[in-house]
Symmetry: C2
Subunit: 260 residues, 2 copies
Amino acid sequence: MNTRVRDGEPADSQGLNVPLTRKPARRRTLVDQVVDAIVAGAARGVILPGDRIVETEIAQELSMSRVPVREALRLLESQGLVVSSPYKGVRLNPVTRARLDQLSEVRVALEKAAARRAVMLGRNKGSALGALERKTEELERMAARQDTYGIASADAAFHRELCRLSENDVLCAVWETLARQLTVIVGLSTLSKPMDGIVAEHRALLSAFSRGRLPELDRALEEHIRTQNDALDFEAIIAERRALRDRQQAADSQQRNGAA
Amino acid sequence: MNTRVRDGEPADSQGLNVPLTRKPARRRTLVDQVVDAIVAGAARGVILPGDRIVETEIAQELSMSRVPVREALRLLESQGLVVSSPYKGVRLNPVTRARLDQLSEVRVALEKAAARRAVMLGRNKGSALGALERKTEELERMAARQDTYGIASADAAFHRELCRLSENDVLCAVWETLARQLTVIVGLSTLSKPMDGIVAEHRALLSAFSRGRLPELDRALEEHIRTQNDALDFEAIIAERRALRDRQQAADSQQRNGAA
DNA sequence: GCGGCCGGAGTTGTATACGATCCGTAGTCC
DNA sequence: GGACTACGGATCGTATACAACTCCGGCCGC
């Protein structure tokens, strides 16, 4: 893999990945760099599900020792992004349709609970609702631009905000790990689902939420996630990503030759 | 802390803690030892919420180097058991009533979803249901013995089995991290709730589940968890655990003096 | 007497070094 | 010719060594 994330070039400059902790006080340590680099590499298709991740390589590419890399891998392992077995190395969690469904099911359960709590807290009106509306508008802007990456990003932001409104930190933390895994799975693949459909669904979600119509919201959430999954063609995604990686590898080796 | 977990003496010999991964193939590495030792220490009250955890100490007590300890701490951090800030060290996550409620809320959401899926899969009858019944009987045996530790253990086993019936690995994994955190919070504190009440609630849960009465089950779950929390007197628990630690420290230093 | 500076002890973050284990490969024996 | 074994490279797991940082207490100047 050729992720190449160095100090001056944060891996999530594209805004897809969010930091694990909300606290801005936390200084960026090397472990964080590794985590971001691997997540970014996975999201951009440089690392594919099932690919082996070698500590030495990562360490060299990020020009650090293996120790922070190991710690980062352990962290990612406990979040389910990679799997490891002693003396045999770490692999990016191979993805199956079943796993995607499982992730989605848990995510829906969380978001339902979040919405329920948010309504109970009266966060479905006023400034709290405004925040969610802004996310929806952002989504619309991205859809208008046909910016698939922006849509994925805005979609995540919308659901993240929904969780945040529950004011349940534990829920948010769990949601983030799930979202991260889904990001790796879905990556930058262009959704095969029509964009205006996505926008409409979010409008419906927002509407149901603002009215506090929980059963309706539950159904809408479930529908929203499920159709999104159904629209994914796994074979196509894998093929696309493999091609993407090959292109990047080619470009990279070319660049290296030019530099030599 | 004085956990003293060495090779011949597995930390979870009391059966409270479960391994992170289901795969038995995974060889036990030093990192696992550290994880178990810390979780056990937290559950037994040797480490209290908010206590600082010093890498060097753990390493010495387990007679290993700091590297595996660091990796274990990172793992526990990403699971929310400890919090860390660079150069300032790691602390056992300080516990508040709010956090307990948040954990419970997420846990209930997960178990509802698990039950829903299990019923959908027809796991609420036949041998699958039998497994859950056995857990309930175990709970009754423990209650009859007035074995508070056994009750806590059997209670966890019941809910774990419920999750397992959903056949959703992601859900189970998330549930385990939550359960682990709750264990640390509640620890070995004697529940102030009457034991036959607990048994009755589980019977009710089992009954609603076997009949596939989901709304009823949802309510019962919520009630079950909530009353369990309400019965907890935080101040008393903290005081008790502090006393417990002092006793253990005293005994330990005495033992050390005797050995010297 | 009091507040700011500073220096050292203690702890964490990182790098390097070494032993342990896995896996592919070649060689040998039947 | 095939299967078993020995071996070597590659990679992981762990230990040790050093650098960076924090915090606390004393000291000095005011």
